[in-house]
Symmetry: D3
Subunit: 189 residues, 6 copies
């Protein structure tokens, strides 16, 4: 029957966690008003938790080159192709906020080819979908074509690295059947 647990794997009590992880979780709770479930679902593995959020922050908490909204577009479009409920719902909310657009997340998640995108955003999302779906076939000519459309080498790396990181996150969340917090569904609509 219907099952509302957060994860298939152990979910520790906050009080049982190492101090640095508690600090991180309490900081996000203060900022967001609730603790996104990914923090508690990964906390049973302290070293993996730290590496995961270190990579997350290195890729998502900056806005030189790709804007923060563009980064979230990559996350939502590629997470949808991997059918990752947690990532689509949670990052869909963040994308709506960052892009100040209540429609864009559902559009990218349902049919990324029909979303309301600028030419630059179209190029970014198309390449992200290629990295997500068939990275083995990427050619030098395809990289050169992105540069001709105005992307820098650093931006191309960012698109690929964000897509790669969420290829991992999507699989972890699917493995754990990680449940998105109810709050995310209605944020910024």
């Amino acid at each position: 029957m219907v099952n509302h647990r957060i994860s298939r794997f152990p979910v520790p009590e906050l009080s049982d966690l190492p101090q640095d992880i508690r600090d991180r979780i309490e900081a996000v709770q203060e900022k967001s008003g609730f603790v996104p479930n990914v923090f508690v679902a990964l906390a049973h593995r302290a070293d993996e938790f730290r590496a995961f959020f270190a990579m997350h922050d290195a890729l998502m908490d900056k806005s030189d080159g790709l804007s923060k909204a563009e980064r979230e577009m990559v996350v939502v479009a590629t997470s949808a192709t991997n059918n990752c409920l947690y990532c689509v719902v949670a990052h869909g909310a963040i994308l709506r906020i960052r892009a100040k657009n209540p429609l864009i997340a559902d559009q990218l998640a349902t049919n990324p080819w029909k979303a309301d995108l600028s030419d630059r955003e179209r190029t970014i999302v198309d390449f992200a979908l290629l990295v997500a779906g068939n990275s083995a076939s990427i050619t030098d000519d395809q990289i050169a074509a992105l540069e001709e459309k105005g992307l820098t080498q650093a931006e191309i790396w960012d698109i690929g690295a964000i897509t790669a990181f969420f290829a991992s996150s999507n699989r972890l969340a699917n493995l754990a059947s990680m449940r998105p917090n109810d709050e995310f569904y209605s944020m910024a609509r």
Copy 2:
């Protein structure tokens, strides 16, 4: 650049339409407060419009056997596998209303295997996905297994017929790049 038109194909003025089609459109407008774009996007072909909505009503406007919410679950889950933006967004809204559940549409659209479903709903959605994705391989044994799980023959037909009708609707909406009304995105969340 970003393009907000309703359809790639002609969108007639209401005043240019046959009376029965105008009546239908005005009735839905009165009930919903706006005209869902599918009505105007199909109106350039009067006979096809009439047949389309006759089939729609025959399959969706009844609740013997499958409930109205179950019918909409079939629509959302199968339309998502066809990446149909119009059907997922518009019928997602209707599903939230009919199921009195603000989460279920996003769940079914993103990962139908992880949605909060009862056992009966799980059986219904799984069969709908089979008809949508590989109807040619359906065996007598699979039909018998559905009956063992408590579905009647009429319910099995309904699941298949709704899935089949939206296989058609999804392709039409994608062909036309039909745009969901902004109102649908936030309804009943």
Copy 3:
């Protein structure tokens, strides 16, 4: 073991049907010399029967723009990709008659890229296969390219709408394991 029934679902007696449905069936019997099984396999649902044939007639019984043979080419090629025995065999027969070509149906059903087609027919069939297989990815550029090859907007809609209708018919026929009448196999060879 081998099973020759017409459908997995109820097949009503002609005498039990509403008058308008009986009239339609008797008309086709008079014209064809036999009753194609689709008529009896759908008759257990009167409203769906009426809507189905209303859509069929709106799309298939005209020849402005796409010729009747071109319409049947769309049906046979796309029904084959959906492995729909009923539609390939029955509409294969109709295509042979309409195109006055005993080979074209088997060619389109087996390998649509190797059939004896004119350039215009090639364009039509290729687009139908795109709508059948991946309608979500259709771009404005692809539509424009069809217009450059000489198709009108109305013809493009017809190709898409016929393909969409048979996406539905193929799934219904596969659901019911609908059996083509033996007569169809050898007609017009």
Copy 4:
């Protein structure tokens, strides 16, 4: 435009061929009343021609274990999944003759899961489709299950070897765009 040539590759004159190949071609012409195009399409490579027909005869011209009709069922079902027009049309004709069944070839080519097959034929065709589509995944358990259903080890090899040989023939025929003789389409219907 429409192109009726037999092959994309050289088609030699009968008089230019080595005597053994001429003899083989003249023998088939005498028996069938026409020369199937595969003989002339492969004749430009004498050694490959000889090896090809040696393998063909070793696999197809015997009836211990699998009957000749069962062998042709394997050919038609697997050639259809490879969209090989030549093999489906030519061997479809042979299958109709060998099985004394005018419907079976079109059934197997269009939807092999819905053909009028006995339980034994169903087992044979299902295994052939597995070898054609995903031979890498075949397990010992699957082989053992075939033996439990009554197939001998020699029959299992024959199913696999015929499927393997036509995996090759289908690709050669598609490479050459080999054209089936018109005669095949209507034989034994």
Copy 5:
């Protein structure tokens, strides 16, 4: 023409790197006798480098539960399905060393279903392939079946987390067209 560069993206000089990254690279060079190219290919992004190897070490440098050889089996099998040359060649070498088996890496990379595996290894590799290929469909029943076969919850997480991490690594290496060092190809054969 043939191109032997290490990466499509910048490869910094060792002397230009932060001290902690230089230390890590010099340590691996001392241990292995050469610097695996992944270290220099990721070094242009210091924070991503640190997070990447922190996750790598958390998942790969332990042997409680899954042995080190079993961890490498997961890497090689799943990296092969992603066609990642760097990961298959480099981790193939490590697997040959850890498993003391010169054949196992080529077996897992070419056909993971035919490799010389124990029952436990078979279970591990099969689940890794499921997480790599279709994590969205994993059910509670499938997790329970793994436990019945003797895997602990911690081992199941490890299989999934390693597969997830290499889903990311494979995409990064393919994005960069990262070149495996020649030394890896012949190690431990």
Copy 6:
């Protein structure tokens, strides 16, 4: 548990074989120092053995047009897409010898798009992969493009015919779960 047998099907004693087959096997043993398992795995069917090696020799034992190394590149790249362990390992060894390149076999087997290939080799391998994966879609324009890149018609046939032959060999080897001799793994590295 781990199983090291050569084939799922009968493996006859050398002394029980027809003289011509014994001669062939003894010749290869003298030349190679061991008997490749394919010879003993096919020997239970004398006529098929003869036809198989006749085709093999006609396609692989010549070097006009395609060089012997280029022929083996086709074998390794296409056998890898079919996950054929025997063909990848055995012909990988032969390719390393013929191309005098210890890396090329693993590169082609893991990611054929990233291998160290000349432009001509790139064209050859790309076409082989097309014939292996989707021969039905090959167009006249694609053949003409190969000729523009400098391939002769005879070379195009050779690429296609070798790919076709190994489509067959791969399926036979997978059917039999044919085991590569241990010697092949380390040859010419």
